[in-house]
């Protein structure tokens, strides 16, 4: 089946981010298709490649990056809620004259339209709230 996942929860702060990761891994293991993962609200922090967790804790951002690379996942970070929370790619950093960018390269910064498109084409939509 075609799944679209919405993640509203910050990594490293609440468990929902781990739940979503585990759910996505299981979906892919079972041969389902994840047509898009959309990070919204505090979920956008998942795309921050500067996250440097201690060695004895899971690096959720790295885990999503690895999953995205292994399965060519379409992982989208909502541009409006990300800018507000200080998650930027190089293009937006330049546009707003910010001194640096921090979005991991596996993530795409895009609008809510990407989410609506995924909802339209998905057989199932699953939300992971904070």
């Amino acid at each position: 089946m075609k799944f679209a996942l919405a993640i509203y929860a910050a990594p490293f702060s609440v468990q929902a981010s781990q739940t979503a990761l585990h759910f996505a891994q299981t979906l892919l293991e079972q041969g389902h298709e994840v047509i898009r993962v959309f990070f919204y609200q505090d979920g956008v922090h998942t795309g921050n490649q500067l996250a440097t967790p201690p060695q004895d804790e899971q690096d959720i951002t790295q885990a999503w990056r690895a999953l995205a690379r292994a399965h060519q996942l379409d992982v989208v970070v909502c541009i409006a809620t990300a800018l507000k929370r200080g998650i930027l790619n190089e293009e937006e950093a330049q546009r707003y004259q910010q001194p640096a960018s921090n979005l991991a390269p596996e993530f795409t910064l895009s609008g809510l339209g990407q989410w609506v498109e995924a909802v339209v084409h998905a057989d199932r939509v699953v939300t992971f709230g904070a």
């Binding site: 089946m1 799944f3 739940t19 585990h22 891994q25 299981t26 199932r124 699953v126 709230g129």
Partner: protein, 103 residues
């Protein structure tokens, strides 16, 4: 068409599970995840309502095994709660037409 409901908040702290219980209908499934698994305890304020949901209103009630295990709850849950792993979570989400997340 039936719905899979997920609940991730403790019923001792929040009203989330109560809200979900009021909306479940026959054929739906309710999956307790994260801190929601405290709702599987017989001491939970929602315990009688959940039992009635299973027995009288024909709702299927589950709790996510790794979340029970993390919290030391495996041997403490009510016997009307079924335990599933992530494969079960995925299967429930395919068997029901929609998934409602209560958080």
């Amino acid at each position: 068409m039936s719905t899979l409901h997920t609940v991730n908040k403790s019923p001792f702290a929040q009203q989330t599970l109560t809200s979900c219980i009021n909306i479940c209908r026959a054929g739906d499934a309710l999956l307790l995840i994260e801190d929601g698994v405290y709702g599987a305890l017989p001491s939970a304020p929602t315990a009688q309502a959940l039992k009635a949901l299973v027995n009288d209103r024909k709702v299927h009630l589950f709790a996510l095994e790794p979340d029970l295990q993390a919290r030391g709850l495996n041997d403490r849950i009510s016997d009307w709660v079924k335990v599933v792993d992530y494969s079960g979570f995925v299967q429930l989400s395919t068997e029901h037409k929609t998934v409602q997340s209560w958080y």
